[in-house]
């Protein structure tokens, strides 16, 4: 009897314990959501008609052709209202990824930093180029950084770095916690 039971058990095991097999039946659903575009819109606080729009765009994702990056040219000693938007433009219509940052505002922080050289360490960011003041807050009353004002100072030539830091559970307003979701650099001229 024992024998029969075990032979039976072995058979059942074979029948029912098959592995998970995920054949891909709907290939068009594969495409990962990827951000192709970061768009900055600078509006002169004193003159709404004075607008500067700059895009950082990489339609084919990591690798392949290089991203297309618009240079940013701003006026000295001027305050701009700056909005930062993210899109997946491979989708039609383009997917606005900005909404997801807003929804998870308590986990994200957008930084706008100034550097003399591209790719420089965060520690080398310059504080004398412009004053950045976030205008939006998350549920914990910490800034998100999608809407900011940027008050430029004197003339400057260098780089503007826009960074989205992902800081789940440890966002404290500073740069250090978490990891980087988005990092783009625009050539910047203030004159």
């Amino acid at each position: 009897m024992t024998t029969k039971f075990f032979v039976f058990a072995a058979g059942m095991t074979l029948l029912f314990a098959a592995c998970k097999k995920e054949k891909n039946e709907t290939p068009t659903e594969n495409a990962n959501e990827e951000i192709t575009t970061l768009k900055l819109t600078f509006t002169n606080a004193a003159n709404a008609a004075d607008k500067v729009v700059a895009n950082w765009k990489d339609m084919d994702g990591a690798g392949g052709t290089n991203p297309v990056i618009d240079p940013v040219s701003l006026k000295a000693n001027t305050t701009y209202n700056v909005t930062t938007e993210l899109f997946d433009e491979r989708k039609n219509p383009a997917d606005t990824v900005t909404n997801e940052i807003e929804e998870e505002g308590a986990e994200h922080r957008v930084f706008h930093l100034f550097f003399t050289n591209p790719g420089a360490s965060v520690a080398d960011s310059l504080t004398n180029v412009a004053t950045v003041t976030p205008q939006d807050k998350d549920e914990n009353n910490l800034p998100v950084g999608l809407d900011i004002t940027m008050a430029t100072k004197t003339a400057f030539t260098g780089f503007l770095r826009v960074v989205v830091r992902h800081q789940p559970g440890n966002k404290d307003g500073t740069y250090a916690p978490g990891s980087t979701d988005v990092l783009t650099e625009f050539p910047l001229e203030i004159k």
Binding site: V7, T13, K21, K23, N24, N32, G63, E103
Partner: protein
């Protein structure tokens, strides 16, 4: 009714199932019989294999030789006038030499260990086996960690849960793993993909170093690992084994059980069920926890075999399921984040909070399924024909850290069918050999993120190997030749948008070797082999950001096959239990060696900048030595020393080769207190492993003085680890319970290892205290 059912079951099994013991029925067991006390050879001792009735007598020098055995479990009885007869349970899978000492007088304890030290498999290639106690010591560890006990085998790791065996500097697709006789076809696309094998399945782990194992494939440039289960039981009775292991560091527990039976009423019918559970939590380094480094594993297997003298079938099914947490501090955003972590020298505090069994994103989930049918048919007295058919299915799910901004997830499905038809011929004028054909079809499909494209692959090969032994046992000569062909086709992504060039490769491999037994206790082997390996799919077609590694990887669809010429020279010296010394010298020249080359170039993505790396080829030479010495210098004391040295040179660049293990040494002192009435096979050992700093790394071309060379970080310092272990066998009723207790990294030494990808992020684990229990089971086994 009962009979009909059994007959029906038998018929079904015959229809459905598979052959057992497919390997050669040409095995020779040999050795010398000596007197325990006088150490003198015993002539005229009778040696009998109880299961087959085969009987021989030892000659004037005490030498014996049992020929023509099939793989299986045997009981060998040795008797001699005036000595206590002994019985040895001998699991046989290949030629072996074993010296046996017979206790002289009746007054001695009959349980005295009668086997000599670990038996040596007779072959010209360097082979090492972990079984018995040595294997018990590794229970609860992953396959990669278990194999580290073998001299010359190191590991390449990605944190505490993922480790891959490295044989003399070669790893991944260059090391074949045979899981119960079947070539493991998992997803070996990178350093963070560990072999999907449950080591509890095996009661023997064999490492064949070097390229000569043509039987298993011409592409084993680094070597072969065999994970072999015990053959199915041949004696009636229900039996089994329970293994339990617990580890303090990550509070990991492992439980594995085997139940097996030779069905009494059906001659030749046997079955086995086996299952393993493993669960561990976060690992602790000396200074902090590594969050999200837990592991959960559930494996099982079932085997049924039906074996008659002239034919047999065996059916085997196994499943391996694991979920591995990946330390979140290692999944960094981009190169800037990585440089920051390296500068900090420890992970951010939010990733080192405390202990938990919870597995969060990022994690990997892997399932591997194997189904195998094995059958054999004796072809008269000439030999035996073996047919093996197998299907493997591998599912891999990788989830990156969660973020609203990207669906960083990848699923891969790899299905493999393979088959082989092999004929073993029995001894004919001193020659024994095997000739066979093998074939394999493979299909991969992915979902979500593209890293490895969809593909199909077809491979076939034919081989012939022969072995010749002189009548006086002094000479052993072996050689073989193999031809393989491999095709990759239907390469594309799931949208059908990207097509990659198809590739096909074919070539010969061969090996030749000789062994000469200068003295009874001293032999020399030489072995030369040529092997080639077609570039693997990841090396050809991978393209994209490497998950967590913060590098951009670019495959090259036009890579040529690697061609290795390997030479081994080994010396083996042993005087019974007293002294054993092994030295293996090797030289391996590999043309078109494929490796990942870091560069100064940067790939700019929306996530920031990533270093660009690509697969390239160079001619390289690898030379080295594995040496070990075991010396029983006092009756109760033993000293053993191992050394493993490797020099890997990139001949094309005229510089050292990147990512190679450094030199290492291990010293162990063991004290055997002797048996008491309740405690047997007792030992206490203390060992020191000494791993040197890897100073041989390629220089940074723009700044030769940069200590980091081509890496982002200089190789970590060398380290010494102190380990302590004790073991015993307790008699509980009729069952012997084997107990091992010990502590790894006893001094809680803080260190990092060059071969661990986590060296950038975090320290290695601290002290780990463990307890391992093994209880063999027998339920009313009928003694014959």
């Amino acid at each position: 009714m009962m009979i009909r059912k059994i007959a029906l079951t038998g018929a079904l099994l015959q229809l459905l199932l598979v052959a057992s013991a497919s390997a050669q029925c040409t095995i020779r067991l040999s050795g010398t019989i000596t007197d325990t006390d006088t150490k003198q050879p015993l002539s005229g001792a009778s040696i009998t294999v109880k299961e087959t009735g085969l009987a021989v007598e030892s000659d004037a020098k005490g030498a014996y030789s049992l020929e023509g055995l099939c793989p299986g479990a045997y009981t060998v009885r040795i008797s001699h006038v005036g000595c206590v007869p002994v019985e040895i349970a001998w699991q046989v899978s290949a030629d072996e030499r074993r010296n046996i000492a017979l206790p002289h007088s009746i007054t001695q304890l009959q349980e005295v260990a009668v086997t000599g030290h670990a038996a040596k498999e007779v072959t010209t290639a360097p082979v090492e086996t972990l079984s018995g106690r040595e294997l018990d010591k590794t229970r609860g560890l992953t396959l990669g960690e278990s194999l580290k006990r073998v001299n010359g085998v190191t590991t390449m790791t990605t944190g505490p849960n993922v480790s891959k065996p490295v044989i003399n500097g070669l790893h991944s697709n260059r090391v074949l793993i045979l899981n119960n006789g079947i070539r493991q076809e998992g997803q070996q696309w990178g350093s963070e993909h560990a072999p999907e094998v449950d080591p509890f399945l095996a009661n023997k782990l064999v490492v064949i170093k070097g390229a000569g194992s043509l039987r298993y494939g011409g592409d084993a440039i680094g070597g072969v690992v065999l994970a072999e289960p015990k053959p199915l039981p041949v004696e009636p009775g229900l039996g089994g084994e329970v293994n339990i292991a617990g580890f303090s560091n990550n509070r990991l527990g492992a439980l594995s059980a085997i139940l097996e039976q030779q069905v009494p009423k059906v001659p030749g019918l046997s079955w086995r069920l086996q299952g393993t559970l493993r669960k561990g939590g976060n690992t602790r380094t000396p200074d902090y926890w590594l969050d999200n480094t837990g592991v959960e594993e559930f494996n099982f297997s079932a085997a049924v075999g039906w074996k008659r003298p002239n034919y047999g079938v065996e059916l085997f099914y196994s499943q391996f399921n694991t979920s591995l947490g990946v330390f979140e501090g290692s999944h960094i955003g981009n190169r800037g984040d990585l440089e920051e972590v390296i500068k900090q020298q420890r992970p951010l505090p939010e990733y080192t909070e405390g202990f938990s069994y919870k597995i969060d994103r990022p994690y990997q989930h892997i399932e591997h399924e194997l189904f195998k049918i094995k059958s054999f048919l004796n072809t008269g007295k000439a030999g035996r024909l073996n047919l093996v058919l197998a299907r493997q299915f591998n599912y891999r799910d990788e989830l990156d850290r969660s973020s609203a901004l990207s669906v960083n997830q990848m699923n891969l499905n790899l299905t493999t069918y393979n088959g082989e038809l092999v004929w073993d011929h029995h001894t004919w004028k001193g020659f024994r050999g095997t000739v066979g054909v093998t074939g394999m079809y493979q299909e991969n499909s992915y979902k979500r993120r593209l890293f490895i494209p969809n593909y199909e692959s077809l491979q076939w090969g034919a081989f012939w190997t022969e072995k010749w032994e002189s009548a006086d046992n002094k000479w052993l000569v072996e050689g073989g030749i193999r031809y393989d062909h491999k095709d990759y086709y239907n390469l594309g992504d799931n949208l059908g948008e990207v097509h990659y060039p198809e590739q096909d490769f074919s070539s010969f491999s061969g090996s030749i070797g000789a062994q000469y037994r200068i003295l009874d206790h001293f032999h020399v082997s030489l072995n030369a082999a040529r092997a080639w390996r077609a570039a693997a799919v990841n090396e050809l077609y991978a393209s994209g950001l490497h998950h967590g590694a913060a590098v951009y990887v670019d495959g090259d669809p036009y890579l040529d096959p690697e061609v290795a010429s390997k030479f081994n020279a080994s010396l083996h010296y042993d005087i019974s239990d007293r002294l054993e010394a092994d030295v293996n010298l090797y030289y391996n020249y590999i043309r078109n060696f494929i490796f990942q080359q870091p560069t100064d170039s940067i790939v700019t993505t929306i996530r920031g900048a990533f270093p660009y790396t690509y697969y390239r080829q160079s001619d390289v030479s690898m030379k080295g030595m594995d040496a070990q010495l075991r010396w029983h210098f006092l009756p109760k004391w033993q000293l053993s020393t191992k050394a493993s040295i490797l020099r890997a040179w990139n001949e094309s660049d005229n510089d050292w080769l990147i990512a190679m293990p450094s030199d290492r040494f291990e010293h162990e002192l063991t004290f055997f207190p002797g048996n008491t009435k309740r405690l047997k096979e007792n030992y206490i050992s203390v060992s020191v492993s000494n791993v040197l700093k890897q100073t041989r790394t390629p220089a940074n071309l723009t700044d030769k003085s940069d200590p980091r060379g081509q890496d982002l970080m200089a190789p970590p310092a060398g380290y010494n680890l102190l380990n302590l272990e004790a073991g015993s066998t307790l008699q509980i009723g009729q069952q012997p319970l084997s107990v091992i207790i010990g502590a790894g990294n006893l001094l809680n030494t803080r260190y990092r290892d060059y071969m661990n990808f986590f060296r950038y992020f975090a320290d290695e684990p601290g002290t780990n205290v463990y307890l391992k229990l093994k209880l063999p089971l027998q339920f009313g086994k009928t003694k014959s």
